[in-house]
Every structure is written in C-alpha cells, then in structure tokens.
C-alpha cells in the first residue's frame, strides 16, 4: 500500500525515533544528528557528516589506508603499492575491488598483487625503515619494469616514528630519480576512508606533480585533451565512459585511477578540462590543478541515459561546436539502445522502491539511473560523505527521503525492516543481512561482480542486474508453505 507524502514523512520520522530509542543517551544524541527526513525545500539533507564513528555500533566505514591504497593509489597499474606494516590490511584488500586493467600482471602491471612488508615484532620494536629500504631494492631486482613505487602506511608506521619520507627520497636518488611516493594513510587517521583519499591526493601533488620522475613523457597537446578523474574502472566503468568521450571527439589523456598509469598522472597538467566523476575522492587534486595549472573541472554523472546525456552536454559546453555536435551525435546514436533497454526492463521495475547506502558519489549519482527505469529511491546515505555531498544530494532526492549518514548495522536493518523497499543497494557486509530478510539486494560498490554500470553500455547491464535481483523467483520461496501465516 502506497503512503501519501505526509504519511511517509511521519513514518520515516517515527522510524528514526524508534532506532534512537535503543541507544544509551549519549550515543542517541550523537546519532540523532546523522539521521533525518529530507525536507524538499532545504539546501542540504539536514544531517551532520564526516564525524568520528561511535565505538561499538558496527559502523560500515573503513579507514584511511582503504581510502588511499584501496581506492586512489591501488588502481595505478604500473606502480607497485607496498602495504607497509603487518600482513592483514593488504591481504583483505588484495584484488577485491575489481579495478580492471590491461597488462601482464607481475611483469609490467601489479594491481591484483599483494606487496607487503609483513611487519614482525622486531620491526615494531626497532622500526621498519631498514626493511623498507631493502624492500625497494628487492622490488627493483624482481620487478624491473615497474614505473614507480608507493608506500601505503598501515597503523603502526605513524605510531613507531618511522621516517618513510627519508627512505623514499634516499631510494629515489639511488634509482635515478625514480618515483617513490610515501603515503601517510595510517588507518587511525581521520574518521573514515575519506581522509585517506585526501592524503593520497596530496601525495600525488607532492611526489608526482612536484618532482620530475625518471621517465618524462612527451606528446603533442590538442585542444580536445581531457582527463577522467575519479573513475576506478570497477568492472570496466572507465572504459565504457572513455569510449563515449572519444566518440564525441575528445582525447582522453589520463584515467584517474582505474586502468591508470604513472605517465597518465604526469600527463594530466596538460589537460584542457578535468572531468570529475567521484567528487568525494578526487575533488582535492582537481581543485589543485585548477589553481596551479588553470585547468577547469566539471562534475559529471554517467549513470543512466538521462544523466549521461546531461553530462555529455555539460562536458561539451566547455568546447567548440565540433565537440558539441559530437555530444549530440553520441546521444542520438545510443538512443535506440536506451529505448530498447527501457522498453524491456521498465515494465518489470516500474514503481519499485530502493534504499541505498554506499560511499563516494553513488548515494546520489545512481538515483537518476533508477528513475530512468521508473524506480524510486526512498532512502539514501553516505559511508564517508561530507556536507558538500549532502548539499549535492538535494538535487537528486525527493521530499521525504530518509537520510542516514554513517549508518550503523542496527539502524540500517531497522530502517529496511520498516520501509520495506523492493531493493537495497549497499556493500558485501550488508548483502546477506538483507537477503536473509527476503529483501532483494545488489552490491553497489563492486557491482556485485558485474558491471560496467557507467555509460550507455553500462546502463544495459545495470537495468538487467536490477531486474534479475528484484524479479528473482527465489524471493517467493523464502517462507515454507506450512508456515504460511507468518
């Protein structure tokens, strides 16, 4: 039964109150600031964000290391990223994020490998700098085609006073100016992955842009050079985006960082326009390039045909008619495919309700794609969003949407139980909780091992996947017939 807007708002407010009632007072007070029912005329979502998680509540967030190694640096394919510290962090994040790339792994590319200094007690006691020094030598001996090295700090590094910057400088000198990047992304820094993104962005600035490196690249600039910023090529997302940009006449000189390379990072100051998908994780370096090199940047959204077309036009607006015509040509070319996809799937998905809880840009960016299929997002929230994300979210969400920042396991379960969406889109830790409850689910970090979801090619897959989740016959089997009264 569909609720009226006022009924839905009242219900959502009540659900928040119920969830908070279980917490100790001090925690309830803190959590209350992160939960809200969106009022359609407000300039933000009315929640606090980017604040420390409360201990013991089962936050879904990760850490700064995950933001740097796992998100920003890890996909740079021709560099070796050392998980510097004990073995675990690198092990759990090993090849798990589906940053697709082309290369011969272990010889000229290294993304799906786990390089670790595997700290032992003696390294904690005596420090790990000597070990790190030797590790660089061993990398050079065994993986001579690597184009650079990053040192991704795990928690102990900052606590035991290691000087990884000194080691990086020394080794860089020994290897003819090789790019070696120390990254201070210890997991205890900041409140989530988010600070790790920022630290990683700053490391690109300080150790790639501001140092020459040992293999300068030169190419002839053109008026149509752009860089894709903040696309991690999960399941090939950056590829199904790049193809559209090239079709409209632009030249993509760099991908940050999915299927990216050190050379592409170094190329980027020559771009005419930086196009930014994941604002949260790469706005920092985009702003820096704007200030330092005068490169404008534009945010775009490649989820679903409405937003893709809008974004292609927005990108084209920075260029001449040649590109503007190119954008129209591309939009027209894919229109029949999009019409066919929507004709096939919209009747099966029309009116279905969705709740999201993801990171980065997706809690807002994917809403348009659902709407293209006639679906409605009734709740959304960010793992590690900031206030500027929640401001941008107001352009996407409807009046009365339930908003939850840094949601706890308890709250999310409660919200879904009460709102009864037809689909939940979140992560691997949440997937099985909701499937047990009989609620269809798609992982919206890894695309549930599918994808790409970006661009026109990706939307066909997105639509197919949402249909197969929601209209899976298994959901009709969850109740045993002899327990039918439940």
């Amino acid at each position: 039964m569909d609720l009226t807007l006022d009924e839905a708002k009242a219900r959502n407010a009540e659900v928040i109150t119920e969830a908070l009632s279980v917490y100790p007072d001090k925690t309830a007070k803190k959590r209350a600031k992160h939960l809200n029912v969106y009022e359609g005329d407000k300039p933000d979502c009315g929640v606090k964000s980017n604040i420390k998680s409360v201990p013991g509540v089962m936050t879904i967030r990760g850490c700064a290391y995950a933001g740097s190694k796992g998100v920003v640096w890890g996909p740079i394919k021709d560099m070796i990223h050392i998980s510097h510290g004990p073995v675990g962090c690198g092990q759990y994040s090993w090849a798990a994020r589906r940053n697709y790339y082309i290369g011969v792994t272990g010889v000229d590319t290294f993304v799906t490998m786990q390089f670790t200094s595997d700290f032992q007690e003696k390294d904690i006691v005596f420090g790990g700098d000597k070990k790190l020094d030797k590790i660089v030598d061993e990398i050079q001996a065994l993986f001579p085609l690597n184009h650079g090295i990053t040192i991704q700090s795990e928690c102990p590094i900052g606590l035991i006073g290691d000087d990884i910057e000194a080691v990086a400088k020394k080794k860089s000198k020994e290897y003819d100016g090789k790019t070696i990047v120390p990254v201070r992304c210890e997991g205890f820094r900041g409140v989530s992955q988010s600070l790790g993104h920022h630290i990683a962005n700053d490391a690109v600035r300080d150790w790639v842009f501001e140092r020459p490196g040992d293999r300068p690249v030169s190419f002839e600039s053109t008026a149509y050079d752009v860089a894709i910023i903040g696309d991690y090529n999960i399941g090939g997302d950056a590829w199904s985006s790049r193809i559209l940009l090239e079709e409209m006449g632009l030249r993509v000189i760099a991908q940050w960082s999915g299927d990216g390379s050190l050379a592409e990072l170094e190329n980027t100051p020559k771009a005419k326009l930086n196009i930014l998908h994941c604002y949260r994780s790469m706005n920092y370096i985009s702003r820096y390039m704007e200030e330092k090199f005068g490169i404008p940047w534009v945010e775009y959204n490649f989820f679903g045909p409405s937003k893709v077309a809008e974004s292609l036009r927005a990108i084209a607006s920075h260029f001449d008619d040649h590109i503007k015509e190119g954008a129209e040509r591309v939009i027209a070319k894919y229109q029949p495919l999009m019409d066919a996809v929507i004709a096939k799937y919209k009747p099966r998905l029309q009116g279905k309700k969705v709740m999201l809880y993801v990171g980065g840009l997706r809690p807002r960016h994917v809403i348009g794609a659902y709407e293209d299929l006639g679906m409605e997002v009734i709740g959304t929230g960010y793992e590690f969003g900031h206030n500027d994300d929640y401001q941008r979210t107001t352009h996407y969400v409807k009046d009365g949407t339930l908003i939850y920042d840094d949601v706890t396991g308890y709250e999310f379960e409660k919200f879904v139980d009460r709102l009864q969406p037809d689909l939940v889109g979140s992560g691997i830790k949440e997937k099985y909780v909701f499937q047990k409850m009989g609620v269809p689910f798609r992982q919206m970090h890894s695309w549930d091992y599918s994808g790409p979801y970006h661009g026109y090619d990706g939307f066909a897959i997105f639509a197919r996947d949402m249909d197969m989740a929601i209209n899976n016959p298994v959901w009709g089997l969850a109740k045993a017939p002899w327990n039918a009264e439940q």
Binding site: Y23, P24, T27, G56, V57, M58, I60, R61, G62, C63, A66, G85, P86, V87, G88, C89, Q91, Y92, W94, Y100, T105, G106, V107, D108, M113, Q114, T116, D118, D123, I124, L132, E138, L145, H147, C155, G187, F188, R189, G190, Q193, F219, W239, S240, E246, S261, A263, E264, V341, K344, Y410, K429, V433, Q435, M437, S450, A460, I461, R464, A478, K479
Partner: protein, 518 residues
C-alpha cells in the same frame, strides 16, 4: 556499438569487441607502456631458474602471502560461541576488512564491532572507546557475551585490556557479571591461526579461571565428556556438522568449543539471525570438567591445548585430518578417550571410501601436486595425497614454522611417494610461482588466490583452502570424516577428468582419447 538490449553483454564479452580493443590499443600511447619485445623477454625471464634464485634470495619483501593477521582468527573463534559479539579494540577499518573477508568466503553476514579508535585515542589511549563501545554494543546488539581482541594500533600504543574492561564495567558499560573475555592479538605476531588460538584460550580461561579475578576459578570434577576444537577452518560449516554426526553415531558425550557451523549457515526465511547456534556459554564453562580436549588443528591450538592439559585434560591434536588413515587415527582416539566403540555404520563408510579410492586412484597415482595453505590443512592434504599415491612435490605454508616443516618431512619420509618432495615454510605465492615454472607439476591445490598461479603457469587449480571467493558453497561440504575424504577425492578427480577432457577435445587431432568412459 556492441551492447544489445536483447542479449546484454557482460564485462567478459563487451570489452572484447573491436571498438574496445582498439580503444585499449590507442590508450597505450599515454601510458608509457613497455615495448612488446621488452615485455615478452621479461615475461620469459620470470620463468627461469635464474629468476627463481633471485626470488628465493628475498629477505624483506613479501609478495602474495597465504596468511592473514591475528584478529581475523579472533573473530573466527569468537562467533563460534552462543550469542557472542566479537569486539575488536583499535582502528575501525580492520573490522570492515574482517567482516568483508568472511562474507566473501561464506556468503553470509559476519557481525563484529570495533572501538573505532582515531588520532586522539592514539595519543591518549583507547579507554573511552572501550567504555562507550562496550555500552553501545551491549545495548544495540544484546549479545550474551562480548569477546574482545585487538588490532595492531591498540597493541603498539599498549592499551591494557584487563584494566580497560574493568573500568568500563565500573562505569556501567555492561553489567559487572556480563562475560567479556579478552585477549591481545597483535597483527605483527604469528598469523590468523595464532589469533584463533589466543582467543579460544582466552574464552576458556575466562570461564574456567574465575572470569578475570571476579569469581573463584572453577574446580574441575572430571567427567567422561570430550571437548572438540575445530580450529580456523574455511570448511567449518561442513566439518563441524560432520564431526557432530560421527560423534552422535558413536554416542560420544561431547562439547564443541567454538562451533560456528550455524552462524555461518543461516537460512533465508525472511529473518536475519545475527547470532545462531554456537557453543552455549554454560557448556563452555562446564567443558573444564571434560576428560579430554581434542583439537582438529594442532597449529591453531598450541596454547589452548597446553592450557587444557594444565587443567588436567588428556589432549590429542590432529592436523586437519583428511583420508582413510588420518580419519582412522582420529576416530580410534575418540573411541579410546570416550570408551565408545566405532559402530558398524562408520566402518561401512570407511569401506565405501576405500572402495572409491580403489576405483579411481589410477587417475591420481603418480600425478605431481603443489599445495599451499595453513599448516594443518597442508599436513592433512599431504597425508591424503600420499595415500592416493600422488606426489606432493611442493608444499608451502606462509605461516608454517620449523615445527611444521619437520612434521611435513616426517610424513614425506614415511611414504615412497614423498621422495623428491620439498617443504617451504614462511614462503609466499610468488615463490610458488617460480617453483611451478622451474619444477612443473600436474595440479595445484590452494585457495582462490591460486587462480593467479593457474593463469600464469597454466597449472590446473583445485580449490581447497581459505578463502574461496570465486566458487560457491563448498564450505558446506566437509573434508573431515570418511565422507569428507570422499568429497575431497571427488574434487580432485573432477579436475583431473576435466583437464584430461580439455586436453583431448580437438576434433581429428587429439579426440581419439576423448573417451566416454574413464
């Protein structure tokens, strides 16, 4: 345009279309890509003996290890107890990783909380995080017990769990009598199997030795029951259930300590069970009175077994027993300790396994295997391979100790099939890559990460181990017991036959051997 609404192309076919292939080729101009000839000669060089020697000379760098860190094992052990919420004191990202890791393997939720320590806690210590964290976890998730372990952050700054938990209780975070066992699990010591051991011991110590000084220690009154500990095991769901079935058939009075077979195998019936099954807390306490404690994985329980022995238990340790002889030894020991004979039904299961081996071993006999994994699992598999007449040429455990090495050598020395086989403690999968290139084998046994070795060296991978992310549901089937050995045998045989078929299916060239009967 390659995409199609009628037959939607996935990533594995979409990107093979010409427009994308061309795009990849054009992108190389911006990548500073290694020239093809140089790349090919480097690829070939990594296959050589020279590269292997260089690779084995590594002293500091670790590449693709087959081990994880202590707190992962702590969480594994803790969720095996009734209504128990693991609480990891330290940085919060670690807990996100453990939960993801287990969920990717078991395809199940894993509940666990963190005390979410950040910079201020690094400076001032994590006492407030413990106080607030315990209170929140207790109120929100209504556990029967909270089992505390630590990340390396809390260990480096030296937080004192005993004092912190005591203070938290004084401040009313949880009731004074609420069970909060704790243990230090530094990630820079040992591996996940060490964390399992520390946590299992800490939980038993909590119940048996007076709950951190708040109660008098239990006085042991020996009974005839037997405790069984499974150890860190990717097949816990299937294996635990198989052991319980065997014990029921024998009529053994037993307690499973750390039974996570239900919590990692809950039904989809419209209801999420955060906790399910597990060792009842009163049973964990009463386990002190047991006659004996048996460990299925010695290297997961070194300290735990020593502790049980100190309490007066007879102890027996096995190494992930797989196969006829290993299962014989296990069941005979259970029979001896419990005084219960092995029933005819189990004897017939044994006979069926021997029958199956006799039927099929011609296809395995003399085949060369490489295997890696945890110390106990590799010992169990080595024993079984030797029993099948296979040659386990390379045996590697990244968390293998000199003790483990000696134990594997003893197995190899006792069998004619163990000649020329080698043991590699403390090595990683990049070492294994060199071994597979320079001393090739017919099959590789390992976890999901072995697929990278399969890709590079073309050694067919048989997935046995933890984690298995890219095949579903195998953890539901036991490897232990005669039935489990049967499953293992079939797993190996299926791969052998698939490889033989794939190798003989070129029409008019090799398909004379594409036999219908094998």
């Amino acid at each position: 345009m390659s995409q199609n609404a009628d037959k939607v192309l996935d990533h594995f076919s979409l990107f093979r279309s010409q427009e994308y292939v061309d795009m990849f080729e054009n992108k190389k101009a911006f990548e500073n890509a290694v020239p093809v000839a140089e790349l090919q000669s480097a690829v070939d060089w990594t296959k050589t003996r020279e590269y292997r020697d260089l690779n084995f000379a590594r002293e500091a760098l670790v590449v693709n290890p087959a081990k994880a860190c202590q707190p992962l094992g702590a969480v594994f052990a803790a969720v095996g107890f009734e209504g128990t919420l693991p609480f990891v004191h330290g940085s919060q990202g670690c807990v996100a990783y453990y939960r993801s890791h287990f969920s990717r393997h078991f395809k199940e939720p894993t509940s666990c909380v963190s005390s979410s320590m950040t910079e201020d806690a690094a400076v001032f210590g994590g006492l407030n995080n413990m106080i607030d964290g315990l209170a929140n976890a207790y109120n929100l998730y209504k556990p029967k017990m909270i089992a505390v372990s630590t990340t390396c952050m809390a260990e480096v700054i030296g937080d004192d769990l005993n004092a912190f938990i005591k203070t938290a209780k004084e401040k009313g975070s949880v009731p004074a009598a609420f069970d909060v066992p704790f243990t230090h699990t530094p990630a820079f010591v040992g591996s996940h199997v060490t964390g399992y051991d520390n946590t299992m011991r800490s939980i038993l110590e909590h119940f048996w030795d007076g709950k951190a000084g708040t109660e008098p220690p239990l006085v042991r009154e020996p009974r005839d029951s037997i405790n069984l500990i499974g150890g860190f095991d990717g097949y816990a769901v299937g294996n635990m259930r198989e052991v319980k079935r065997l014990f029921s058939l024998m009529g053994v009075n037993y307690t499973m300590l750390g039974d996570n077979s239900d919590v990692w195998d809950t039904p989809t019936d419209g209801h999420f069970r955060m906790y399910d099954g597990g060792t009842k807390l009163e049973d964990a306490a009463a386990a002190v009175h047991a006659k004996a404690t048996i460990s299925m994985q010695e290297f997961c329980t070194l300290k735990t077994l020593a502790y049980a022995a100190k309490k007066g238990h007879e102890v027996a340790a096995f190494n992930h027993p797989i196969g006829v002889a290993a299962t014989d030894r296990f069941l005979m020991e259970v029979a001896r300790l419990s005084g219960r004979p092995i029933p005819e039904e189990i004897t017939r299961e044994r006979g069926r396994l021997v029958d199956a081996i006799a039927d099929s071993s011609a296809h395995i006999h003399g085949k060369k295997f490489a295997l890696y994994g945890d110390p106990d699992l590799t010992l169990g598999l080595t024993g079984f391979l030797l029993e099948l007449g296979a040659e386990p040429v390379h045996i590697l455990a990244s968390n293998g100790t000199p003790d483990w090495e000696a134990r594997v050598h003893a197995l190899l020395d006792a069998s004619p099939f163990g000649k020329g086989c080698h043991v590699y403690p403390g090595r990683d999968l990049w070492h294994m890559r060199s071994l597979l290139f320079t001393e090739p084998v017919d099959f590789l046994i390992g976890n999901t990460y072995g697929k990278f070795l399969e890709r590079d060296t073309r050694t067919p991978l048989i997935r046995i181990g933890f984690p298995i992310f890219d095949r579903h549901h195998h953890h539901r089937y036991p490897l232990w017991g005669y039935q489990g050995a049967m499953n293992t045998l079939v797993k190996i045989l299926d791969k052998v036959f698939d490889v033989t078929d794939a190798d003989t299916m070129i029409p008019g060239k090799t398909d004379y051997s594409f036999d219908i009967i094998r």
